[in-house]
Symmetry: C2
Subunit: 356 residues, 2 copies
């Protein structure tokens, strides 16, 4: 790997032969044709991703990438930065939204410190937390780049390494990505604006629930960040380094790592989708492995999903992040796999087909 | 109970005190306010329904009500009536869509013969099938009433009895309703037209996948059924008797039975929502216990849901029925319960709240 602009990671597209095999089976199931709609589309994706008519979904994890953002000094969030550490502790102590929803999905929560500014030593070793910091919080993007190009690459590589270890080393079948880090909707909106070309105002929302006045300030901060840094829209490492975040690079890396190993990866809300855009720039075929879980309240999210050509499965007014929407969608992914593996064909079940 | 038009079943509305208690807790969870959107709304409903901040969702079942419809002789379906028996056998043998999706939800499938026309003796006793037939298929609604008023009442009572047995006798916590019976989208569209006042053409879809020509015929059949029978829009028993079906009465009964015992009941597509409309006419407060799982491809479904004031949780182009959409939504109901019981408050987790 080098530091040039043409950095690309090699990912194979979905396998068309296996997509065809899945479609052939789904066409014959004991139900009116394609009566399970989007679940059947998803089943085809799973076959194309895993090259199998029996896609495994046994071991599941939500990887929660955490990091801090220098841009909070601009007043873009209504939580102080110390809360990142408190929330990471809450994840480890199983008290957060993602713990409940991952529990419901039968998935493990794996928290990765990609660059939290505060002191995590008190909670290290107490639970499923991995330490891979690239720095201790990014610099303020309104004043200059978030990180160096080397750090951006490192954050991607750390993400790939986490995915590889969990898939190859531990045998995980299905990965969802989540995040924690105050200020990260600001970085994500900046990334989405840079990559899609939409104005900052069109992709900026309320994050943790800021006021109208704060939204105006946040938009101005993002505009300044884009003006000061001039990220190159087609260069994923450049965009990540200039207006991104360590956890966003980690998310992009997890997506690329999962795609390299032909595993589906479920994306969550605004921040993980910003990471998905970075992954897509670095490995366009990685989009074939992304499953869009939900459409969040954050207005930039729908724009980012559309840019990736993804239609989300759920629309439940979620705006928490952490991977909560992705955890909810795990059930739908497993349901799609079951349709492929458990439902019988007309011939197998001795059921008469429709009269044309 | 009597045979007069003013038949009503007594159901208590949701408990406002418990809704308030749930809201108070949800307001304090370690996340931006109401960041889990519709899941939190659902959590409030669960508290109001069950009078508890720890709503149980341990034992779950999909009750699949099956029956035949004389109206198939009008050519409204592209499957012959024998397939109802074949599909009931498929349910019992665990080969259908609902088996896969109930399996994913950790729910049992309980099939109830409410009035299948064919011979079921070959599969009785082989699985989770209950025999409570009110007749052997309804009469052709295009020529006269589907059933007598006594049969309509009996179908409701059978449904209540199934729900009561499963909740009180077997300890089920969460019930979903599903159905099987060729011709039942025709009966359901007729019910929805009768109750909502919308023209047949607005509430009639392709059912199992019929052609444009067949849709026109189906609409004409429904118009004829409404003209011949003149169901009284506000009289649930009358509508059910004249243009309904035995399984649709059974579904209404299950909903009323679950509501009487303060259990949530998840409704599925067009047919179960037609049953829900009957339940609502007979016990208006039963709507407080209904959870709308999804919006199906059948165009009458959205109209029926709107009439009940229900916003569905999922929209995945489903049109299978059987209870498949309701089974998928069980995960969301359980997730909502977990948010209430597992996520910590700011105080419990020692996390700082937002700065206003």
């Amino acid at each position: 790997m080098n530091n040039k602009k043409d950095i690309r990671f090699t990912v194979q597209p979905q396998d068309l032969i296996w997509r065809g095999k899945a479609k052939e089976r789904l066409d014959q199931l004991t139900m009116p044709h394609w009566a399970l709609g989007r679940l059947m589309d998803l089943a085809i994706d799973l076959a194309g991703i895993t090259r199998s008519l029996k896609p495994e979904t046994r071991r599941k994890a939500v990887i929660v990438m955490a990091a801090d953002h220098g841009v909070v000094s601009e007043g873009v969030s209504n939580y102080p930065q110390e809360v990142t550490v408190q929330m990471v502790a809450n994840f480890v102590n199983r008290g957060a939204g993602i713990n409940a929803l991952a529990g419901q999905a039968g998935a493990e929560v794996r928290v990765v410190d990609m660059g939290v500014a505060g002191e995590l030593s008190g909670i290290m070793g107490r639970g499923a937390i991995v330490s891979m910091p690239v720095g201790r919080g990014t610099a303020n993007i309104a004043a200059g780049p978030a990180m160096t190009r080397e750090q951006a690459l490192q954050s991607i590589e750390n993400g790939i390494s986490v995915a590889r270890g969990m898939i190859e080393g531990e045998g995980f079948d299905l990965i969802a990505v989540g995040e924690m880090g105050f200020g990260n909707t600001t970085a994500s909106s900046a990334i989405i604006s840079a990559i899609t070309g939409k104005p900052a105002a069109d992709v900026t929302g309320r994050g943790t629930g800021i006021s109208d006045e704060q939204v105006h300030r946040k938009i101005a901060v993002i505009e300044r960040a884009l003006q000061v840094n001039r990220p190159v829209p087609g260069d994923g490492i450049d965009v990540l380094a200039k207006v991104g975040g360590f956890e966003i690079g980690g998310i992009a890396g997890v997506i690329i790592g999962a795609a390299m190993l032909r595993r589906p990866v479920i994306i969550d809300g605004l921040i993980t989708t910003a990471g998905a855009l970075i992954a897509w720039l670095l490995a366009p075929e990685s989009a074939d492995y992304m499953i869009a879980s939900h459409r969040s309240v954050e207005k930039g999210h729908a724009i980012a999903l559309r840019h990736l050509g993804k239609e989300p499965l759920l629309d439940l007014n979620l705006r928490l992040g952490e991977g909560t929407g992705a955890a909810l969608a795990m059930n739908l992914v497993e349901a799609a796999a079951r349709i492929l593996t458990e439902v019988k064909t007309f011939a197998e079940a001795h059921v008469s087909e429709a009269v044309e």
